[in-house]
């Protein structure tokens, strides 16, 4: 300002400093992470299986593949949430620490220099069991997915870094458990079928005994039971063949007036109803209890792995719980299974949160609740569709639909085998995996939690 007094000449000159364009401000994170390490399954996998036939099919990650572009551009490029969190924390999307499977041998990615890959998550992996989804063998399996479990992934990091310890500057993300849930469903399904088969046999025996004279019933029961058991053990056994065997075994003991009353069709109908009831009863009682308990135990195990990492020096571990699997397209196909899946998911998440409550260096992120909010109000998340899948999962569009029943996987999904619709705002790529946009939403929720924790 320039004043001239008296006189009086006054000039007021105000300098305004302004920027015409908006600025970036301080983009540095609150914590200077040295690297980002990911442990988990297909939701975090950065492309372990992007080799051999999977790569040839234009796939590699369990989402819509091949959407190129810088992070943040549209359409949302192909990155998993763990990769995006890595980019937010250290400016670079993580890459797969192991590759192989589907016929290719397992190999370790180059682990030297700034390009070292520290995303150990593998599609199909469970927490401890090496027999992941699609891997009936376990350790060393390469014909399909490697599915090294989280416990092995952590050991892999130790092998790569030369020490099982952490220096406290790493950001570690953990999301695992869904494949244990699927494993428990498989177990429950098998056990329910076994319970149904037992109910079927029991019903046949009971029905046949009714046609036997009272004096012969004890002997007949043994004979019919053995016949049913023997026939049921045959690989080619059918309900009809089992009933036929039962009738044949019962014939020497039938009452005089039983002739003409034995109706295989009626016996089969009654037995199948009994089988269904027995299977459902098992699933709803013992099976449910076992599955729920097993999931809680898996969560406890996972939490012990997390705590072990903290004990070995880790100071920043993000643990993401299981999204709401009961509302995935997979679960929606079988509505009667949804309460069971929800119970298993809740048991896992509750146990995980409880076990990690108050743990130093652990940030628990409730993706389950966020996921449920997405289902309740998709528009709030700019989601167009939270029920259908973006990928065409039917053979031949999806080469992994081996059973030709629409059971293909997003791992070979790309722009060439999407459904005929604008899927850019779909939540699901396939029956359980998110689209790149779904991954972005999950990543944002995690980074938000990190911001609130003072980690970003």
């Amino acid at each position: 300002m320039l004043f001239k007094l008296p006189g009086i000449t006054l000039t007021v000159l105000i300098a305004l400093t302004s920027c015409k364009k908006p600025g970036n401000g301080d983009q540095s994170p609150a914590v200077s992470f040295s690297t980002v390490i990911a442990f988990g399954d297909s939701l975090s996998d950065a492309g372990t299986y992007q080799v051999g036939p999977i790569k040839a099919a234009g796939g590699g990650r369990f989402t819509v593949n091949g959407v190129d572009g810088e992070i943040g551009t549209l359409p949302v490029p192909t990155y998993t949430w763990a990769q995006l969190v890595s980019a937010a924390a250290v400016g670079k999307a993580s890459c797969a620490a192991r590759s192989g499977g589907f016929g290719s041998p397992k190999s370790n990615e180059p682990a030297t220099g700034p390009t070292k890959c520290r995303n150990y998550a593998q599609g199909g992996s469970r927490v401890t069991n090496p027999k992941g989804i699609g891997n009936p063998v376990g350790v060393g399996f390469t014909a399909g997915p490697l599915t090294e479990p989280v416990v092995t992934q952590i050991a892999n990091f130790g092998a790569d870094s030369g020490s099982a310890n952490f220096d406290g500057t790493e950001l570690i993300t953990v999301l695992a458990g869904p494949n244990d849930l699927f494993g428990q469903i498989e177990t429950l399904t098998l056990e329910s079928k076994a319970a149904g088969a037992a109910g079927f046999a029991k019903s046949i025996i009971t029905q046949m005994i009714a046609f036997v004279t009272p004096a012969n019933r004890a002997q007949a029961q043994t004979a019919i039971g053995q016949a049913v058991q023997t026939e049921a053990a045959q690989a080619a056994a059918t309900p009809i063949s089992i009933i036929t065997a039962a009738i044949k075994a019962a014939t020497p003991f039938l009452a005089a007036d039983a002739a003409g009353k034995v109706n295989p069709a009626e016996i089969g109908k009654t037995a199948e109803a009994a089988a269904k009831e027995a299977g459902n009863t098992y699933a709803a009682t013992t099976g449910l209890q076992n599955a729920v308990s097993a999931m809680a135990a898996v969560a406890d195990t996972l939490s012990s792995y997390v705590k072990d990492m903290v004990n070995k020096g880790a100071r920043y571990v993000v643990v993401v719980n299981i999204p709401d699997v009961s509302q995935t397209p997979m679960a929606a196909k079988n509505p009667s299974s949804q309460p069971l899946i929800l119970a298993m998911t809740t048991a896992f998440n509750t146990a995980l949160e409880k076990a990690l409550a108050g743990a130093d260096g652990v940030l628990f992120v409730d993706a389950f609740s966020e996921n449920r909010r997405q289902f309740i109000d998709p528009a709030h998340y700019d989601l167009d569709n939270v029920k259908d899948v973006a990928c065409n999962l039917n053979f031949p569009a999806n080469v992994l639909d081996a059973t030709k029943d629409g059971s293909g996987s997003a791992i070979v999904c790309n722009g060439n085998n999407l459904i005929n619709a604008d899927t850019s705002r779909y939540l699901f790529a396939d029956n359980v995996h998110p689209t790149p946009y779904g991954h972005k939403l999950l990543a944002q929720y995690v980074t938000k939690a990190m911001v609130l924790a003072g980690w970003l």
């Binding site: 006054l10 000159l13 300098a15 600025g23 992070i71 943040g72 938000k448």
Partner: protein, 227 residues
């Protein structure tokens, strides 16, 4: 980004041989002091995609108050009417996350320069020691130099290009009350308060936007000299 420096010649006043008493018609009053702009924010919700894990179900924003070196210039038009223009250095406001982002701290900064011309009515006589007044001004609420942050980027575009934003500048009406007190000869003290209704929109580079009632309250306290 390099900022450009703009020079604004706000006022050039040429007055000679002025021996008028305070607040006589035709006189000019110059003052310097401090001005505080305090937004009274009622935030809307961030447009989709947004978070919803809060009682109000969305991300909202808070805007901090700021005090700067300021003052103003007043032209006494007649015994009771005057024109007043407060002047100040640009105000810097911190934008904080609220609602679903509550606890995130400062996620952005924005500068504002409310340019206001107040027609005023002054009570009592020109030579009165104490003169309360009221005014109704027209303000151009100018927002500039918006700066994002890593926190803003992380929660809107994780891993991507920094999220930037702009805020709509607006013309608004600003009611004002104030008073001047003659201190010594031609020196006087001035205090004023104004409150305006201001609804603006924040536009983000991610395509999201957020509407908010900013309704700034402005306090001014200054010592001046009458010419």
């Amino acid at each position: 980004m390099k900022c450009q420096v703009h020079f604004l010649i706000a006022v050039i006043i040429l007055l000679k041989g002025s021996f008028v008493y305070a607040q006589m018609p035709g006189s000019w009053l110059l003052r310097t002091g401090a001005i505080t702009v305090s937004p009274q924010v009622t935030s809307g919700c961030l447009s989709a995609p947004d978070f919803s894990d809060s009682p109000d179900g969305c991300t909202k924003a808070g805007v901090s108050r700021n005090t700067q070196l300021g003052g103003g210039i007043t032209w006494i038009m007649s015994q009771h009417l005057s024109l007043d223009m407060p002047l100040a250095l640009p105000f810097t406001h911190e934008v904080s996350g609220e609602g679903a982002m509550k606890g995130s701290g400062t996620i952005a900064e924005i500068q504002s320069l409310p340019l206001t011309l107040f027609p005023q009515y002054r009570f009592f006589g020109s030579r009165s020691m104490f003169r309360p007044y009221f005014g109704l001004g027209v303000t151009y609420a100018y927002f500039f130099n918006p700066q994002g942050s890593g926190r803003l980027t992380a929660t809107t575009n994780p891993g991507g290009e920094p999220t930037t934003f702009t805020v709509d500048s607006k013309f608004i009406f600003s009611p004002q009350v104030g008073a001047s007190l003659r201190l010594y000869r031609k020196f006087y003290a001035d205090v004023f308060y104004s409150q305006a209704k201001l609804r603006s929109r924040i536009h983000m580079s991610t395509g999201q936007h957020l509407d908010a009632d900013l309704d700034p309250q402005t306090f001014g306290l200054a010592v001046g000299y009458a010419y």
